[in-house]
């Protein structure tokens, strides 16, 4: 008992620390939804949102020195755990730590409940769309669906029509990117149904935040993420070709050690307890896939492929590819191997198809979409084209077959000359363009090491959805990416983005005594 009391004293001192209180002058941005803070009104300063104020208490009271120490601890942790990504350069890949802000991004139980239902709904509809478009194509008879947009897309692969994937699953792992607008409404920004990456950061970030913010984690009662590998292993097994049963051999297929996501490939293989293979470790015989092992060839039933589909099989896609496994698509077409995710999924996450997804949900499920989207104008439609050309100064215009910000017009920031020139391109080939209003991405408090203070920074969220024949399952949390550069809207790691751990609260309003305890009691409880 005596020890515990002295414990609480020393810890409360450590907690307040020296240096200025890092939240003292935290001010949300104008016209932007801050997820944890309400802006100041008149002479009243900004303050934490009431539903999270109590949870945040230990953080809000923290001194700059203390937070700096914890941020450093987080960085060292990631370095020691080997959580790195490779940066392509002239020589061999250089390994870097994906910068991580130790302050978690918090999503309440209520918010999550809606998101979860919405993500399940959307994934089910996209799965049905893929089955349809590579099957009977019944939806094309729907007058609201422009067939030419779908069939004319480069992502549509007519060669795959009529091939049923094992157990009927195509989107084994989905990543659906979400943003929050100025009012705080979650909106789908894009779907990633081919090879979404980043889930290893979700699991590793959790290890780190538990280490550096134990008192906060305990207070918030955060839902766990560590069953993900077992879920994915189950899903891979559940789609193994019939007869493989409990002998189903799953592997993770990586392009190799120089791939930027190599760490994640090794991580998932290790966590699932399955072999990590490269294409050269596999071969096809009698339309079945085998791995070359020390005990001779071993039949492979289920492949979590982290290679781009165009490099999957030189027989079917790119003849010049040295990376593929010749004949693997024949094995797939015969139902002898499951490929996760299925080739051809790109048609469902195409930029020009995205605005049609709400219609897919109505068509296939007879439900109204739960999740909002970003309003999108398809320039292929004459009405939309006219609107876009009239409102170029308000819109962000993107080319459907480009990613990463290339070929994009940021209307509000562009000059009149730039807009006029862009308009000529759009008129020439309208079907290649879509347009969206610029969304004021939500912000959340972020530690800025250079300034030794906390400032608002914009974030997005990528939740992960794992599907088996029983349907989709959503990982509680996801990868929060944060634009660390002041004023930036770009969260990509290549352009100054970092990550945060995403905490989904178990319960918004816990009525257990723990939630009502004072800070000092709390600190005495858990370091």
């Amino acid at each position: 008992m005596a020890q515990t009391q002295s414990q609480s004293q020393s810890q409360s001192q450590a907690g307040s620390g020296s240096g200025a209180n890092v939240f003292a002058d935290y001010q949300p941005l104008a016209n932007t939804y801050d997820e944890l803070y309400l802006p100041g009104v008149g002479s009243q300063p900004s303050r934490p949102r009431p539903n999270v104020a109590k949870l945040l208490e230990p953080l809000v009271r923290m001194g700059a020195d203390e937070l700096a120490h914890r941020s450093e601890l987080a960085h060292l942790s990631l370095l020691n755990q080997g959580v790195t990504f490779s940066v392509y350069s002239d020589s061999a890949g250089v390994e870097k730590v994906f910068p991580m802000c130790p302050i978690p991004r918090i999503i309440t139980a209520n918010e999550w409940d809606t998101l979860e239902r919405g993500l399940v709904q959307r994934t089910r509809a996209l799965e049905l769309f893929l089955a349809d478009i590579y099957g009977d194509q019944a939806i094309l008879a729907n007058p609201k669906i422009p067939a030419d947009i779908i069939l004319g897309s480069e992502a549509y692969m007519p060669k795959l029509r009529g091939i049923d994937p094992p157990a009927g699953v195509r989107i084994h792992v989905g990543g659906i990117d979400l943003i929050r607008d100025g009012e705080g409404v979650f909106r789908v920004l894009e779907d990633n149904l081919r090879c979404p990456s980043g889930v290893s950061y979700v699991l590793e970030n959790r290890v780190v935040t538990k280490r550096v913010f134990p008192e906060l984690a305990r207070r918030c009662r955060v839902r766990g993420v560590d069953t993900y590998p077992a879920r994915l292993a189950d899903a891979l097994r559940s789609v193994g070709p019939s007869g493989s049963g409990s002998d189903c051999l799953s592997v993770v297929l990586t392009p190799g050690v120089h791939n930027s996501a190599y760490f994640e490939h090794t991580f998932l293989a290790r966590m699932m307890g399955v072999m990590l293979v490269e294409a050269a470790d596999l071969f096809v015989d009698d339309d079945k896939v085998f791995a070359k092992t020390t005990q001779g060839p071993k039949r492979v039933h289920s492949i979590y492929r982290r290679t781009d589909e165009s490099y999957l099989d030189p027989e079917m896609f790119r003849p010049e590819s040295m990376l593929g496994v010749p004949g693997i698509m024949r094995a797939y077409a015969k139902g002898n191997v499951a490929l996760a995710n299925a080739p051809g999924n790109g048609i469902a996450d195409d930029k020009a198809v995205y605005p049609l997804v709400p219609e897919f949900i109505r068509y296939y499920l007879d439900e109204e979409p739960i999740l909002a989207q970003v309003p999108t104008y398809l320039c292929a439609r004459p009405d939309d084209l006219a609107y876009v050309l009239d409102h170029l100064d308000e819109l962000v215009v993107k080319m459907v077959d480009q990613a990463g910000g290339y070929g994009m017009l940021m209307g509000p920031q562009a000059t009149k000359a730039e807009r006029d020139e862009y308009a000529i391109q759009v008129r020439a080939e309208p079907r290649k363009f879509i347009a969206q209003p610029r969304i004021e991405l939500s912000t959340t408090p972020t530690w800025i090491p250079g300034k030794a203070r906390v400032e608002p920074r914009r974030v997005d969220l990528r939740p992960y959805i794992v599907s088996s024949p029983e349907g989709p399952w959503v990982l509680c949390g996801g990868l929060t990416r944060v634009a660390l550069v002041e004023g930036s809207y770009v969260v990509n790691s290549s352009q100054g983005g970092g990550s945060k751990d995403t905490w989904v609260l178990e319960d918004d309003d816990p009525d257990e005594p723990e939630a009502g305890r004072t800070l000092i009691e709390e600190r005495a409880e858990e370091c």
Binding site: Q11, R211, T227, A233, R237, S250, M271, G273, E526
Partner: protein
């Protein structure tokens, strides 16, 4: 050949090293899982106290009701020198035994255990405990693993090392049985819930350093029976009961001279191993874990008694 007293110190040195590593692992992994939402609801710190065999003393010295406070339990099980089971007391006991067998230990092995002991007794350990609990437990775990590795690669393969290893593997069987028993009890006391249970089973695996080996052995398939079977019967997992007993038997075989004592220990260990192997996956499914672990804990104690009578001058 060794002086029985020296063999006794070697045996207990091995046991304390293993006990300290296991305690640091269990405390660390319990703390981490208690930070998540699933565990907090159904699991408490009480099982950790029970696994350490400290239920009565904790009730007497601290008070039963305090068992739900993680910080109180950790402080007790790490720092309280009134119990020989605390981590601090265990490290000290390991070092005291090491001091009695300094002539048998390599210099590097001695420096390692002595260094850890000095660190535990210094303000540095307290500071790390306050500032980075995760790092604190990690350091103790790694110190013990390093010590084991140093002994393996710097010491003569003689009876001193065999007795140290014998102590370590018997303690390991004991620890695995205890951790399995209390986790199993905590997990099955309510109506099972699949997702929740998986998270809890994974926590048990982490407490036994078995997460990655288990996933590899079972290709990611998690079930309660699978985890229990793995920790009890897996012949290639160095912390399973079976592996520990196999290893103990091999140590006794290596130590024993044909005409010398040791038959009693050998027979006892062999009987326990044979008894264990009669459990198949099906019988584990019938909820006989508690029966099994209780028997193993009792019989490991019995084997240790026989070893003491055969070799250690008891």
């Amino acid at each position: 050949m060794l002086i029985s007293r020296v063999a006794d110190h070697c045996f207990w040195f091995g046991r304390y090293i293993e006990r300290a590593e296991s305690a640091a692992r269990t405390l660390g992994s319990t703390r981490e899982t208690m930070l998540g939402a699933e565990r907090a609801a159904r699991f408490s710190w009480l099982p950790v106290i029970i696994a350490a065999g400290e239920q009565d003393r904790f009730a007497e010295l601290i008070g039963e009701a305090r068992a739900e406070h993680g910080e109180v339990v950790q402080t007790y099980l790490v720092w309280d020198l009134r119990t020989l089971s605390s981590l601090h007391a265990t490290v000290r006991a390991a070092r005291d035994n090491a001091r009695s067998i300094r002539d048998h230990l390599s210099q590097e092995a001695w420096e390692q255990i002595n260094g850890l002991h000095l660190w535990m007794a210094s303000g540095d350990a307290r500071e790390e405990w306050d500032r980075d609990r995760h790092g604190f437990y990690g350091r103790i775990r790694r110190s013990m693993l390093l010590l084991t590795g140093i002994m393996r690669s710097t010491m003569l393969r003689d009876d001193a090392l065999e007795f140290i290893r014998l102590g370590a593997v018997l303690e390991r069987a004991n620890q695995t049985a205890r951790v399995l028993d209390v986790h199993h009890h905590a997990i099955t006391q309510d109506r099972p819930h699949l997702v929740l249970d998986n998270a809890l089973w994974l926590g048990l695996l982490r407490a036994c350093a078995g997460f990655e080996p288990f996933m590899r052995r079972n290709r990611g398939r998690v079930s309660g029976e699978g985890v229990a079977e793995f920790l009890v019967l897996e012949r290639r997992f160095p912390r399973s009961l079976r592996y520990s007993l196999d290893s103990a038997l091999a140590r006794v075989d290596a130590i024993r001279s044909p005409s010398g004592p040791g038959a009693r220990s050998q027979r006892h260990l062999a009987e326990l191993r044979a008894w264990l192997l009669e459990f198949g996956p099906e019988t584990l499914r019938d909820g006989r874990i508690h029966e099994l672990t209780t028997h193993v804990i009792d019989e490991v104690h019995g084997c240790a008694t026989d070893i003491a009578r055969d070799f250690l001058g008891a």
